[in-house]
């Protein structure tokens, strides 16, 4: 195992991106993700990459669109209000089948909200957000180590499927300092070639990158092909973690920072004789409906815990399909529940 070092989630995601071969980063300041922008400013040029502090989130995501079209691994990062601004560009990336990694270190909303951790961007991340029928690959880390690993995975999946990938983190994870074993650096030249990229039409016909198809039959076909890739992702790329589920008769479903806190709740509940398990989605799109549905057969209730009014809860209910009750506990506005707050809710279900 590589030597571990102490890093914040923001720094770990930035360094992991460089090690994954990201050579073009475009960002704009917004709390609580400024350390990503700053890390890239001081480290990416040393790695031979391009760094631009853009004039806006809108410009930053469109610079990513350009770099992605040129076949270079590219990333932007922001926090909730900034991601709202990027949605136009994200829709264009999706429509042009361009790989790109987007980090959302989410904060309290809506509007300006605040800079505390929240999970109110789940719908935006997993159900579209921008216009048109598109999906993002959405990965939800719960530790600094996992943030670094998923940042690497995001680049690989995004390139493989030509679907933009979003890391759905939050202010807690971004600012948290933890030991992390960083992935081995990769040479961008060793990555799989992108024959569709804009590199100059030398010795070949022109390559065109566009999300535009005026004829409805053409646009339908492009959408159908893209959705066939989405089906492939759903079949092959589901990721989740289970904790103490084998004998559980109660289940918590939580992701990201809440998933981490829920692990403590499971240990506390077990000490009190409550057979509690945790199901923690790591891919929130694609959502692991089937494995959660199977677990729901064996438990008395599935409690969803989120830093929102109940967004992932809708997916949990789709997965459970009425097999058992699906209570919900959430906090908003940047309030993070303690393990004992959650244990109290668990006891209500027991």
């Amino acid at each position: 195992m590589a030597q571990r070092q102490l890093m914040t989630g923001n720094e770990a995601m930035a360094e992991a991106a460089i090690r994954a071969g990201c050579r073009a980063y475009f960002g704009y300041p917004i709390t609580p993700q400024n350390e990503i922008l700053e890390y890239m400013a001081s480290h990416l040029p040393q790695a031979g990459g391009a760094f631009v502090q853009a004039e806006s989130e809108v410009a930053a995501i469109n610079m990513c669109y350009g770099a992605a079209a040129a076949g270079v691994r590219t990333m932007t990062s922001s926090s909730s209000p900034g991601i709202s601004l990027k949605l136009e560009g994200i829709s264009y990336l999706a429509g042009a089948d361009l790989p790109c990694v987007i980090l959302n270190v989410a904060r309290g909303g809506p509007g300006l909200g605040n800079i505390a951790p929240a999970q109110g961007d789940y719908f935006q991340a997993t159900k579209g957000g921008g216009h048109g029928d598109y999906r993002l690959i959405v990965l939800a880390p719960s530790t600094v180590q996992e943030a670094a690993e998923l940042a690497t995975l995001a680049f690989d999946l995004s390139d493989e499927y030509r679907v933009p990938a979003l890391l759905l983190a939050d202010g807690m994870l971004g600012q948290m300092l933890e030991p992390v074993a960083l992935p081995t650096p990769r040479d961008p030249g060793s990555l799989p070639p992108k024959p569709w990229a804009l590199t100059g039409a030398a010795g070949r016909g022109p390559n065109y990158v566009a999300s535009f198809a005026l004829d409805p039959l053409d646009l339908r076909d492009l959408n159908l092909k893209r959705h066939a890739r989405y089906r492939e992702i759903e079949a092959r790329e589901l990721r989740w973690e289970e904790v103490s589920t084998s004998d559980a008769d109660l289940l918590i479903v939580a992701y990201g920072t809440m998933g981490r806190i829920a692990k403590t709740v499971v240990r506390q509940a077990r000490r009190e004789g409550i057979r509690l398990g945790l199901f923690r989605p790591i891919t929130v799109w694609p959502f692991p409906y089937a494995p959660l549905g199977e677990l729901a057969e064996r438990v008395k209730a599935v409690l969803t815990v989120e830093l929102s009014a109940g967004q992932m809860w809708e997916d949990v209910r789709l997965a459970v399909e009425g097999r058992c009750p699906t209570p919900f506990y959430g906090e908003m506005g940047g309030v993070v529940p303690t393990p004992s707050d959650i244990l109290r809710e668990v006891k209500r279900c027991a």
Binding site: G66, A69, G89, N207, Y208
Partner: protein
């Protein structure tokens, strides 16, 4: 010898243009500008190193008219997309082809900041004083009093502002290498515009700097004028508001 065998081809479609048919209206200057850009790419021999960034607007298909790699950008974002391409692959020659709604209204921030950073790109700015593709609405460049579908009584500066002079605005910045305004209303001006486009591309290739070539163009359909009358309107009226010539040449 039969006479036909003595004919020599002296005027041809630029090699860097595809055979795809333009979607422009009859008499529109966009076709001419596409041709000028194609011939400049030919002359510099950079067809295999050039990327065309197409806007949203009448030129939305521009990426398909060149035998060059091409990309279609979101409305107003072409300069940001061009920045991303150029920063990722500095050896490419990147051309951002944009209209006035795209560049001077929705894309104002991207336009100014790409210029202010001195991105080594060439911006071809087609100023026809109207939103053509969406049916003739008022543009940021629409002349005072000019009628458009969204200012049916004519542009009223009291509430709608005066036409935005983009070349003058960009010329206030320190970074741009070359900022010029050209026109296509007669053969002499077409020749001058051709030289300006060539110079802007050459500066990108040789000096790695930012250029903006604003081209005062017509919109016979949107202006509801036959092309000849539109050219006279440019010569007599439009160029009074948008004076022609080089504003910056630091090459």
């Amino acid at each position: 010898m039969p006479e036909t065998q003595t004919l020599t081809k002296v005027f041809a479609r630029p090699r860097s243009l595809t055979d795809k048919r333009f979607t422009y209206c009859p008499g529109c200057h966009h076709g001419l500008i596409t041709r000028i850009l194609g011939s400049a790419i030919d002359k510099l021999g950079i067809q295999e190193k050039t990327v065309i960034v197409a806007p949203v607007g009448c030129a939305v298909f521009a990426y398909e008219w060149f035998r060059c790699d091409g990309v279609q950008a979101a409305h107003g974002r072409a300069a940001a997309v061009a920045t991303g391409i150029k920063r990722a692959r500095p050896d490419l020659t990147v051309v951002s082809y944009q209209g006035d709604g795209d560049l001077a209204a929705i894309g104002t921030a991207e336009t100014i900041h790409a210029a202010n950073r001195g991105e080594a790109i060439t911006v071809i700015f087609v100023n026809n004083q109207i939103y053509g593709m969406t049916g003739g609405q008022m543009a940021p460049t629409t002349l005072d009093g000019q009628r458009a579908t969204s200012c049916p009584e004519g542009r009223d500066p009291a509430t709608m502002g005066h036409p935005l002079r983009v070349a003058e605005l960009i010329a206030t910045l320190a970074a741009p290498l070359y900022v010029t305004r050209q026109s296509l209303h007669d053969a002499k001006h077409i020749a001058q515009a051709t030289q300006a486009v060539e110079k802007a591309l050459r500066y990108q290739v040789e000096k790695r700097g930012y250029s903006l070539v604003e081209i005062v163009a017509n919109c016979p359909t949107g202006w509801k004028m036959p092309p000849q009358k539109a050219n006279e309107h440019i010569a007599g009226t439009v160029t009074k508001v948008f004076p022609l010539g080089d504003l910056v040449d630091r090459g």
